[in-house]
């Protein structure tokens, strides 16, 4: 055969494989409001950057007449392309081929591209759209999942791992997204659960739909399993691109540096955003935007545990991770969910050398039987652990309340913040004036002729003496009390001089964070 005919044979083979599950299956996919696996990859990656590998992989099923079936690409597309000009490894499960079910070779393709990502030290993005394990392939399907989970764990903290759930992702399959750093879901399309509605109905007699059990909203608002929620697939793709602009490609490389830009101060005026009365709420995200480059801030876990805010912004062109109490929601208390949310984010930033800026304004921990019984002790400890463990530059700005255990947890000097700045409105104290005065002066208040007046007096007395940043500053727990308008200047300076910060930790295999 001539080269020409060999080439045309190749082209024919490729064309067959590129059709995936064929027209009918593709029509079904479209009818569900979903893009095809290949369309998704192309929409996400830079134009013409996708190089597909393992197109001709055949499945390995032998039983149940599977040997007579041909599954193009074995239901998953893998390859390498670029985002913002930088290479990434990607795989997308193809629901049009055997429901995107995971068999031995399907998993092999995924683990192969994951191994590439680790060798090349580039992020891995997995697009999940699969009915689950290919039952016909039995234990080999399970082996496939196990191999993926193992690699997810090895890659954790080395390369960013991103999971996009664009279809069902059920049973064991959900543990790969769970092990990765960021999970994206899309309304009405994403479905994640360990045991589905069918099992719940037969075993427990409870009726629930897939959407109610593990739809996008549930995972983004209730469980916190998903970090980003989008209304459409295209919106999710834009969110991924935005995230990729902030994070480094691996744990040895800094994130892309952008040109410095001042914040849009006319839209984010601190004196308009910020009430000095510590009992009044405000949206702390506006304060973050008042200091970040171009007032941009990419929020993570926007819909879950909104009493703490986490996300990325840029300061002088470089990525910074922000953690801030949100007085607008539950007065900004720490609780089980917000501790989990912040703790994990701090560890991501530390793993990938992203400096942390913490903005503090919290009354303490959320009281309640439900919280105590849910293990708020253990979960709350994750924040302490993550901050204490982190060796990236840590800069803390205390805005108003920093009471009790909450003060310690929010990257205080004692957990080795490199710089603690406090606004003149800061109140660093063991608890709020009302609570403290009632305890300290209990006897005097009780024995007074007019307890209410004495109580008020004592509260005022306590407020005057302790509800300020100067007691903490007198002990050196605050490095500088600063004017709010100077925050960007001070934070930028602190970041600038912390560039070569190095801190040695005791040698160990790994610590034991309070999971």
């Amino acid at each position: 055969m001539s080269l020409k005919s060999k080439t045309s044979d190749l082209k024919k083979r490729m064309q067959g494989a590129l059709q995936g599950g064929g027209d009918k299956a593709i029509q079904k996919q479209v009818a569900m409001g979903k893009m095809t696996a290949r369309e998704r990859i192309i929409a996400l990656l830079d134009k013409n950057s996708f190089h597909e590998y393992d197109l001709f992989v055949e499945h390995a099923g032998k039983d149940f007449n599977m040997d007579k079936k041909h599954l193009p690409g074995d239901g998953v597309i893998t390859g390498i392309g670029t985002i913002w000009g930088h290479p990434i490894c990607i795989y997308a499960q193809d629901f049009t081929v055997a429901g995107g079910s995971l068999g031995y070779m399907h998993a092999k393709k995924i683990t192969k591209i994951m191994d590439h990502a680790m060798k090349l030290k580039v992020p891995i993005i997995g697009i999940n759209d699969s009915g689950g394990a290919r039952i016909q392939e039995g234990v080999n399907s399970l082996a496939g999942y196990g191999e993926i989970f193992y690699r997810n764990t090895q890659a954790s903290g080395v390369i960013p791992q991103i999971s996009v759930i664009l279809g069902p992702c059920a049973g064991g399959a959900v543990y790969s997204p769970a092990l990765t750093d960021f999970v994206f879901v899309v309304d009405k399309i994403s479905k994640m659960f360990i045991t589905g509605p069918e099992v719940i109905r037969t075993v427990l007699g409870e009726e629930i739909t897939m959407e109610e059990l593990g739809g996008a909203k549930v995972q983004a608002e209730k469980s916190g399993n998903a970090h980003f929620y989008a209304e459409t697939e295209m919106e999710a793709i834009e969110q991924i691109k935005s995230l990729m602009s902030y994070i480094p490609w691996n744990n040895k490389k800094p994130a892309t540096k952008f040109p410095k830009k001042p914040p849009v101060t006319k839209d984010y005026k601190i004196d308009e955003i910020f009430p000095t009365n510590p009992k009044q709420p405000y949206d702390v995200r506006n304060l973050i935007r008042s200091i970040t480059d171009d007032s941009k801030f990419l929020e993570i876990h926007e819909r879950w545990a909104a009493n703490i805010v986490i996300g990325f912004g840029r300061m002088n062109g470089e990525t910074v991770g922000f953690v801030a109490n949100q007085p607008l929601v539950l007065a900004g208390v720490l609780d089980v969910d917000s501790s989990n949310k912040a703790g994990r984010f701090i560890r991501f930033c530390d793993s990938f050398n992203i400096p942390l800026v913490t903005m503090v304004d919290l009354p303490g921990y959320l009281p309640g039987v439900d919280q105590e019984h849910a293990g708020v002790i253990r979960h709350g400890a994750k924040v302490l652990y993550s901050y204490s463990e982190a060796t990236v530059p840590k800069i803390t700005v205390i805005l108003r309340k920093a009471y009790g255990g909450g003060y310690i947890a929010m990257c205080s000097n004692h957990l080795r913040a490199d710089f603690v700045f406090a606004w003149p409105t800061a109140e660093i104290a063991v608890m709020g004036p009302e609570g403290a005065a009632n305890i300290i002066f209990r006897k005097e208040i009780k024995e007074a002729d007019d307890p209410d007046t004495v109580r008020k007096q004592k509260i005022q007395e306590y407020k005057k003496k302790f509800a300020n940043p100067y007691v903490a500053a007198a002990f050196g727990y605050v490095d500088a009390v600063i004017e709010p308008e100077e925050t960007r200047k001070f934070v930028n300076h602190a970041l600038e001089i912390s560039k070569d910060k190095s801190e040695v930790r005791p040698e160990k295999k790994h610590g034991i964070p309070p999971f």
């Binding site: 009992k279 607008l328 539950l330 039987v369 709020g432």
Partner: protein
């Protein structure tokens, strides 16, 4: 990026005797008040199906005596009397599915 849809209404929350104005989350609003368990009430520790009822209302039973079989996740669990006592009311029947924490039997 869209702003999240918070319940715009500000409410109050008391933390350490100080009342703060803030928004409350759905989860916070839906939290259940703690109720001290009544030892006289036997509740399902797991959702499942009642397979056998060993006792009758008014019957005297000794501690650890079998009361019910609660089948759950293909396992048969004996529900036994927590103390010597008299059965006041049986709230379940054979083959009936029960949900978690459902009242099964009351003691006098």
């Amino acid at each position: 990026m869209k702003q999240p849809k918070y319940n715009k209404k500000l409410e109050s929350i008391n933390i350490d005797m100080t009342v703060y104005r803030t928004m409350l989350t759905q989860k916070y609003k839906e939290r259940k008040a703690y109720k001290r368990p009544d030892p006289k009430q036997i509740k399902a520790f797991i959702p499942g199906t009642i397979r056998r009822v060993y006792v009758e209302e008014g019957q005297k039973v000794k501690k650890k005596e079998r009361l019910l079989v609660l089948e759950a996740m293909k396992m048969r669990n004996y529900i036994r009397a927590p103390f010597d006592g008299t059965i006041k009311k049986i709230h379940v029947g054979i083959s009936k599915p029960v949900y978690k924490d459902q009242l099964l039997i009351e003691f006098e």
